[in-house]
């Protein structure tokens, strides 16, 4: 294939005057560097905008106070509590399910088996469903059909469906990367598959599993559209799983769209959310990199 491409590229080269080629090359280099500069600039613009407007509002009081006057004043304490509960429900439901599915796909089924392919296809479909459709489904299934109402439980379970593909995908990658010698040695020593899994393969894949977990939390924490009609808008401190609770991202949306004069607190909330998510995502990336690095050394 490369020969065909090369021949074509070279045939163009022969009739192109050298100066034109040099001009094109220089222009392209300039444009590509400019793109990188513009993209970095946009990132810095967005981030500095949120930091500059959010920082003056941010204080311990903001984090530990209840919102007053529809969120225009006061803080975000109940919202942070609701967000944590929603994330906890989502991860508690999705993590065991994700790990189990990944173990089944990597250790207990042949790659070509019909059941394995069916599960993989479903995970692929699930990964593609838009978040607003998850919201519609969560509302119809968890809130109405299962009669959970607008609650932390409904929101958390909806998010669990959403992050499941991420957890399965990362866990599968982690388990597949565990060296086959482990499996062979375990079999040679007469260990059962479950013992090998528990004592060798899962510990070997642990950093990847943890990174996947963090990515899942990051994705769930960023979600808004799937939560508006499942966990709802109520900004009081939630008393139980069955109370409605407002997530941080929903709080930002509500303050900026529905509450006149809510921008200042929306900025501060956005800053809190960004700092949390960037920390979680950076941790996940660092973990993955560290893990890859260790593997390289061992090899």
């Amino acid at each position: 294939m490369i020969n065909a491409h090369l021949r074509k590229a070279l045939s163009k080269q022969t009739w192109q005057p050298a100066i034109r080629d040099w001009l094109k090359n220089t222009l392209a280099t300039g444009l590509i560097n400019l793109t990188a500069l513009v993209v970095s600039g946009l990132f810095v613009w967005l981030l500095s905008d949120v930091v500059l407007h959010g920082l003056p509002k941010l204080s311990w009081g903001f984090v530990f106070d209840a919102p007053r006057n529809a969120g225009r004043a006061g803080g975000i304490a109940p919202i942070i509590v609701s967000t944590s509960w929603i994330l906890l429900v989502a991860i508690a439901a999705a993590a065991p399910l994700g790990l189990a599915t990944a173990v089944l796909l990597t250790e207990f089924t042949r790659p070509a088996s019909r059941f394995g392919r069916c599960v993989e296809a479903s995970v692929g479909v699930l990964a593609g469903v838009p978040s607003i459709v998850f919201g519609l489904f969560g509302n119809a299934f968890f809130c109405v059909y299962l009669k959970l109402g607008f609650s932390i439980l409904s929101g958390g379970l909806t998010l669990a469906c959403m992050v499941l593909p991420i957890l399965i995908h990362t866990a599968v990658e982690g388990l597949r990367a565990a060296p086959d010698e482990y499996r062979q040695a375990a079999a040679a020593l007469g260990m059962s598959r479950s013992a090998a899994l528990l004592h060798l393969l899962i510990p070997a894949a642990a950093p990847a599993l943890l990174a996947g977990l963090l990515l899942g939390i990051g994705r769930a924490g960023a979600e808004t559209a799937a939560l508006i009609f499942t966990s709802g808008y109520v900004d009081r401190m939630p008393g139980s799983w069955l109370d409605s609770g407002r997530a941080l991202s929903v709080h930002i949306y509500d303050l900026s769209m529905n509450v006149a004069g809510g921008d200042a607190n929306a900025y501060a909330s956005a800053l809190v959310l960004i700092v949390l998510l960037l920390t979680i995502n950076s941790l996940a990336m660092a973990l993955t990199q560290h893990w890859l690095h260790k593997k390289m050394i061992r090899l």
Binding site: I2, H5, L6, A9, L10, D21, K24, N25, A28, T29, I32, T35, A36, V39, L42, F43, L46, D49, V50, H53, P96, L97, A100, T101, F108, C118, V119, S122, V125, L126, V129, P130, S131, I132, V133, G135, L136, A140, F141, C161, L164, S192, S194, T224, A225, I228, F229, S249, I252, Y253, S256, M257, D263, A266, A270, I274, L277, L278, N281, M285
Partner: protein, 292 residues
């Protein structure tokens, strides 16, 4: 092929029990997909059973209270904003990927890659909020009202840029190093080598990434909801306020009842079909890329 009926590779009883439990868990993942489809259909059925499908595109207007269900302005807004976003994000994303894989020094490339990854992790509501408070007023000074098809397109472009850049970079990294070296050894300039040899070799992966980005743009709700202005109308220029299908669901679900609620589920179903078609196409391209 093993000859003895039982050996160290055959499953013990505990293993078989574990396999059964795992099978059950994995089955749940399949069930969730089926449930989503079932409930979308089930909730749409009340209206699909007595309103013919074409009326969702040919009615006079979107007034669900008066049994008028024209979704074409919203579909147009969804398609236009996503297409515009791709038009901006695909060249910029490919340029970004070329920068970090062929132009920047290794150190700078690592920093830039990290920056793109962080950009991908910023929640859509923050993109929307930034668009609403910073970008839209800026556009409004130039051409009011500011919240418009243009602002939605720009914010969406920024949002899907990391998707394009990261997938394009993965596709570029998968191209064997000697392709570029051969081209360079034959005297082609860097740009000619990239355009003539490397990019064509990475084409399928890049297209798959662009399709995924399209799926993401069509399914995006919060960012467009906050910056598009949300007026149900056929856009005549880039500066008209529009409402996308996703934004319409988010805005009206809170109070929709009966046929109105069912109509929103129909639009959800349509979105899901559209997005899944794009994702399926992307998967097919990815399969082809792996095959090449």
């Amino acid at each position: 092929m093993t000859l003895s009926p039982r050996n160290t590779l055959s499953l013990s009883r505990a293993d078989r029990q574990l396999a059964a439990v795992l099978r059950l868990c994995a089955l749940l993942a399949v069930v969730v997909v089926l449930l989503i489809l079932l409930f979308l259909f089930g909730e749409s059925w009340p209206i699909l059973s007595h309103v013919p499908v074409w009326r969702f595109l040919s009615d006079d207007s979107w007034h669900p209270g008066q049994a008028l269900y024209d979704m074409s302005p919203m579909l147009t807004a969804t398609v236009l904003s996503s297409a515009g976003a791709l038009l901006l994000a695909v060249p910029l994303g490919i340029a970004s990927a070329l920068f970090s894989s062929y132009y920047a020094s290794p150190g700078l490339a690592a920093v830039y890659r990290r920056l793109i990854e962080l950009l991908a992790g910023i929640p859509s509501v923050v993109y929307g909020f930034w668009g609403l408070t910073t970008l839209a007023p800026l556009l409004g000074q130039w051409h009011p009202p500011g919240v418009s098809l243009l602002s939605a397109t720009l914010v969406l472009a920024l949002m899907v840029l990391p998707t394009v850049a990261l997938t394009a970079e993965a596709a570029l990294l998968a191209v064997p190093q000697h392709y570029y070296r051969c081209a360079a050894a034959l005297g082609l300039s860097r740009w000619s080598s990239l355009v003539g040899v490397v990019l064509p070799a990475a084409r399928t992966g890049i297209i798959a990434g662009a399709l995924l980005a399209a799926a993401r743009a069509i399914g995006e709700t919060m960012a467009v909801l906050m910056v598009a202005g949300n007026v149900v109308q056929m856009p005549h220029s880039l500066f008209d306020s529009v409402r996308t299908l996703t934004a319409n669901i988010a805005l009206e679900m809170a109070y929709a009842m009966g046929d109105h609620r069912a109509a929103l589920f129909v639009s959800g179903l349509a979105l899901m079909v559209l997005v899944l078609a794009l994702v399926g196409l992307a998967d097919a391209y990815k399969g082809q890329a792996a095959h090449d």
